[in-house]
Each structure stands twice: as C-alpha cells, then as structure tokens.
C-alpha cells in the first residue's frame, strides 16, 4: 500500500498513541461527568478514534479542521493539549476557551482547529471558508471538515459541497457515519444508495471506507489531501464506524433501546485500538511491552491533565463580558443590570 501508515513507523506508532489518548481521555470524562466534576453535556468519541487519527495523520499542522459536538477526538488527533482540553471541560480559565465554550466548542486556532461546534454541520462551511482562503491566496493549505451521518442531511452541507465542487476547494468532507443520529438509524434518515454517493452529484469523488481501521482511513485521506493540494478539488470520505457509548454521557440513565446489546458487541469486536496494536506488533513497530509502557505514560499524562484542570482558577466576573468583540465601545457589550453596575 503506497499510502500505508506503516511506511512511516513513527507515524504508525503515533497513531496508536493518539487513539489511546482519545480512548482514555473519553473514559475519564465519563467518570468525571458521573462524579459531577464536569458539568453540562459531553459526547464521547469512543469507538471512532481511527477516523480522527487517520484523517489528522495525513494533515499538516497548518491545515484546518472543523469539528462537531463529538469533538474531543478531533482536537487530540490534531495535536490539542489534553491539559487545556480538560481545563475547558472543567470550566476553568486555563481551558482552551477560557471556560466559555466547554466540551462542544473547543478550539485552537494555532493548530488550525476552527472549533468543535454545537450546531450539527455548522462547521462545514466554516472549514470550507479556510479552503476558499487557500484558493484566494494561492497557497496549498487544505481543510477537513468532520460531520456525522446526521449532519449529512443538513442543507448547509449540500450548499457547501456544491460550492466546493464548482470552485474546486481544497477540502475533505469527512462523514463519520456512526449509524445513528442520536437514536435515528442512518437507513431511516438517508435516501438513495448512501452518503458517499452524494459526492457524484457535485462532481467530485466520494468513497466509503472502514472507519474502524486507521490505516484505511489514512490511506484514503492521503489520496484526497494530495488531490486537494494539487488544486483538483474536494473529496467526500464516508467513514463507517460505530460509537460504543450513547449519544451523550447521560444517555445511559434514559434506558433507551434503539440499539441491541448484540449489535453493540458485534461492533466492539472491531475495536480499532486492539486491531491497530496487533498490526504494529506483527510489523515489529511496537511490541507489547513497549505498548504497555506507552499506555502507562498516557495515564500519567491524563492524571496530570485532570490535576491541572482541578487546580486551575475559575474565570472571574470580568471574564464574563470579555472577548465578545475585538473592538469595544462604551456600553458594549450591554450589561444585564446596567443601572446596578455603575
């Protein structure tokens, strides 16, 4: 395989490392939500790690991504700092968004992460805007936008795909088909032969890959990135995967029955982590002992991240009204109790 991750052992091992960080970060988030240390709604990426890591392994640091409500994995895969991520989940001022975004909005513009997003598929045109800027400036920057099988049915995705097609924008449409839009199965929400085939309507390639296999994702994305950098336009890549957890952390308490235990077990058998660990072991790239050492390091990293978050300061009163504008004016932003604030 020309684009195989294994042709670069460093990249291949790093892919395992990042998938493992995502998995353990998310498992810890579940515990921290249940312990009421993290407030609000979190959506775990467990089971889908191979997609984010496969995609971001094929991107440069200067390339742009836009993410979704289920965004932790994308941020980690693009190089995000787990300490600042965890601090953001804790609502602390040291968090990526200074405690103003939380789980669904983590952004790091210095890494090209144009943010997770709380509105399904709203980040798709925003990433396309970065790709459009590459065309205008005639550089070879590429953007990748993540959205789900649910997001695939938002009108703005189709608008953006059309514009990406006519303007040959250097963008990758990464559809994470995890089988369900909350509880609605993809077959019941998707007309036609499938999401990847929609690219044909807009005149660019659409492919379906096994989203549980990091090397397959990487290989396909690498081809699409090369195509985009060469000015040949977008690609839609539908990554077929499964989320092992519920739509959001608290779903467990709802006792929903839209998925059967047998179905979940079938997909768990395809878990991307043990698979890739096995490939690396077979290839002699990462032995079981080396892997155990790496896993232990990751636990230390995440312990540290949680401690950093816990020990961090809360945002202060003045932070609540800061950052709304680059340029402020008298009376702007308006305060809720203007008469009392004088």
């Amino acid at each position: 395989m020309q684009n195989s991750l294994l042709t670069s052992p460093t990249l291949a091992v790093d892919a395992y490392r990042r998938m493992r960080i995502i998995r353990r970060f998310e498992e810890r988030v579940i515990d921290l939500v249940n312990a009421n240390e993290i407030a609000g709604v979190t959506h775990e990426y467990i089971g889908e790690e191979a997609i984010a890591v496969g995609v971001c392994s094929a991107l440069r640091e200067s390339d742009v991504i836009s993410s979704t409500h289920r965004g932790h994995g994308h941020i980690i895969a693009k190089g995000g700092d787990v300490r600042r991520m965890m601090a953001e989940l804790f609502g602390r001022v040291t968090g990526y968004n200074r405690g103003k975004g939380g789980s669904m909005h983590i952004a790091d513009l210095s890494l090209g992460i144009y943010g997770a997003n709380g509105i399904v598929a709203a980040g798709v045109p925003i990433a396309a805007g970065a790709a459009w800027a590459s065309v205008i400036r005639q550089n070879d920057g590429v953007a990748a936008t993540f959205f789900g099988d649910g997001g695939a049915n938002q009108g703005v995705v189709h608008e953006t795909m059309n514009m990406a097609g006519i303007w040959k924008l250097p963008i990758l449409f990464i559809c994470e088909n995890n089988q369900y839009a909350v509880t609605t199965p993809v077959q019941e929400a998707t007309a036609g032969p499938g999401i990847s085939t929609r690219a044909a309507a807009y005149g660019f390639p659409g492919v379906r890959v096994d989203g549980m296999r990091v090397d397959e994702v990487y290989e396909s994305v690498s081809r699409a990135v090369a195509r985009a950098r060469a000015g040949e336009g977008p690609t839609l890549i539908e990554c077929v995967a499964y989320r092992f957890q519920g739509h959001f952390t608290a779903e467990r308490a709802l006792s929903l029955t839209y998925r059967t235990p047998a179905e979940i077990d079938t997909w768990r058998a395809k878990d991307p982590l043990p698979h890739w660990a096995g490939v690396l072991e077979d290839a002699g790239a990462l032995s079981a002992d080396q892997r155990a050492a790496m896993d232990a390091e990751i636990e230390t990293l995440l312990d540290e991240a949680t401690q950093f978050a816990r020990a961090s300061d809360w945002p202060q009163r003045e932070d609540a009204l800061a950052d709304m504008y680059v340029t402020n004016y008298p009376g702007l932003p308006a305060k809720g109790a203007a008469w009392n604030a004088k």
Partner: protein
C-alpha cells in the same frame, strides 16, 4: 463646493478604495460580478476573479465560508441582494460568526462585513422582501450601522470593513438615490458616534436611516410654527451613541423615535427603555415611538402607509409631546 455624489456611488467608492488599500478584502454574494446592485461595479475588471465571487443561491453556505475565510485572515464583504435573506442564514451570522470569538475565549478575529443594499421596503415588493430586521441582529450582539447620507455611506462602509468584528451595514432603499457631499480619499465615519442633524430645544427626534431626511423636513417645517425640533441620526445602532442622546434629551425633555423597524422589541423600544431608565427625571412628556406596525408590508400602495412610519405621524407625535410640560423632577431635585 465639496464634491457631490449619490449614496450608491459613495458605497462603491468606499469598496473600491478599501480593496485597493487592503488585498485581504474579498467580495462574495449573488450576482456581484455583474453588480445587479451597483456597489461592486468594476470590481471584477480591476481586481480579478480571486477578489470577487459570484456565489450560488446558498446564503448559509457562503456566509459560513466568509466566517472561515475571516478566521484564516481575509476580510470578506458579503453582499445580500435582499435584506431578508439574512433570515435564511441567521444561524451562520448570529450563532456562529458573532459568537465564535467569545466562545473561543477571545481566539481569532472575524472581520466580515455584510452589506444589505436596498434594505427595507421598496414599493411593490410586499412582505417577504421588506423587513428592516436590524433589531434581531442587535439582540444577538451583532454590530449594525445604517448610514443616512452619501458621506456616511462611504464613511461607515469603510469603518465596517476595517472593524475586526462582524458588522452589518444596511443601505436602505429609501437612501440609495440620495445625493450629497462626499469627501475624497480615505474617509471614515467612526462606529458609535451619532450626529445632530438639526439643533433644537423643545423635542429630540431620533430618526434612523431612511427616515433621517424625512425628520429633517418635519423639523424645518415645524420651526415655522415655533416648535424647535432637534434631529439626532445615531448612524450606528450597535454600538449606540447613548451620550449624545442623553445630552439632547436633558436639554429638550421630550423624546420621539422615528424608526423603520418593527415595533415589538424594536430599535425604538430599546431607545425608549434606555431613556426611561436613565433619563426619567429629565423627561417632561411621555416617550413616543413612530415605527412600523407588526404586520408584513402589504403589496398595495393604498395601504402601506398604515404599516410604514410616515412624516405626518412624526409631526402628530411632536405636537402630542409638546402638549406636555410635566414637572421637571430632575431640575427640582438638583436644587
């Protein structure tokens, strides 16, 4: 005499000058290359196809792209052919472009200018093309300007394009053919600074956008009958020049707001609330709002006057507030 030009030409001059000055300024919109609206006329020839983009009819898509391009370092100008198309892409303006900087904890800048040429009601276009929807944007914190004169059209458009935050500029249909002096060269009207168009001592009229010249005419007419009307054009709705308004109302003690937006939770309601909270002891008369009625603008010109604010209504409102001379509590308390 200073150089005269019309409002549309002033907008065009502002855009062309800014595109020459700053290569990060790019234009996207519907039918902008052939310039259906006139502002972008000549852009394609001078700046080439990478600076001006005819988008398909996909407002959410290209407005969202402008946000991404702005984060990437460009300064997009988005032209809306019709103001109500903002409804189509409301999510991408108020929930994305405006909120992202705050929600990202102050990361990045989103310098997008959205221009709405021919905003508000135009004869015969009926209800879906006629709203002046700036209160909805302001409620979401989006900066809004609405120039009433050709000079301010140039000055505020330039200021909007240089602002590092999203700004919507309404260029009302009723103002587009206005003619007046326009400074040559680089010219900026700062955001948040209103202008007294007519000085007067009896009543303050805050007139907005296309209603400014109408209010000036009413003020002139009423001068002859001995009523001294002060006309304030805020020019910028968010930020709003509360200081100039307060100074004026402290002198006149009476306030009428003449606004082409809807009544409920509208711009006039906001100005009234400010005056009631902050200027209570300066008022000698109840505040009066002349606004649109809260129905769609009807097609027939026989009845649109019952919906759109009219100068006769302003005149009647001024007479009404002049019939009051309530005890000036502020003056009494300060003694």
């Amino acid at each position: 005499m200073e150089r005269q030009m019309n409002y549309l030409q002033a907008l065009r001059e502002s855009l062309m000058q800014e595109m020459r000055r700053d290569e990060r300024v790019v234009v996207v919109g519907e039918d902008v290359r052939h310039s259906l609206r006139g502002i972008t006329k000549g852009c394609l020839a001078e700046f080439g196809p990478l600076r001006i983009w005819d988008a398909p009819i996909s407002e959410s898509g290209f407005v969202g792209m402008a946000t991404g391009a702005a984060i990437a370092g460009l300064r997009p100008v988005v032209e809306f052919q019709i103001g109500t198309l903002i409804y189509v892409c409301f999510e991408q303006i108020v929930n994305q472009a405006q909120k992202l900087r705050y929600m990202m904890g102050g990361q990045g800048r989103i310098p997008v200018t959205y221009i709405v040429p021919g905003s508000g009601a135009r004869a015969g276009l009926a209800g879906q093309h006629s709203d002046h929807l700036y209160p909805m944007l302001m409620q979401a914190g989006v900066k809004v300007v609405i120039p009433a004169t050709p000079a301010d059209a140039k000055g505020l458009f330039t200021a909007a394009m240089r602002e590092d935050d999203p700004v919507v500029i309404f260029a009302p249909a009723g103002s587009m053919s206005a003619r007046g002096p326009v400074p040559e060269g680089d010219f900026v009207t700062p955001l948040g600074v209103g202008e007294i168009k007519v000085a007067g001592g009896d009543v303050t009229v805050v007139a907005i956008g296309p209603l400014v010249p109408e209010a000036v005419k009413v003020a002139t007419r009423m001068q002859d009958e001995g009523v001294s009307v002060e006309v304030l054009d805020p020019r910028s709705l968010l930020p709003f020049d509360h200081g100039t308004l307060a100074d004026s109302v402290r002198r006149t003690g009476r306030l009428v707001i003449f606004d082409d937006a809807n009544r409920t939770c509208g711009m006039a309601a906001e100005i009234s609330a400010f005056a009631a909270e902050e200027l209570f002891t300066d008022l000698r008369a109840p505040i009066v709002r002349i606004t649109r009625s809260d129905v769609p603008v009807p097609f027939s010109i026989a009845i649109d006057k019952h919906v759109l604010p009219k100068p006769e209504q302003l005149e009647a409102a001024i007479r009404h507030v002049m019939s009051f001379d309530l005890f000036h509590a502020g003056a009494a308390l300060s003694r």
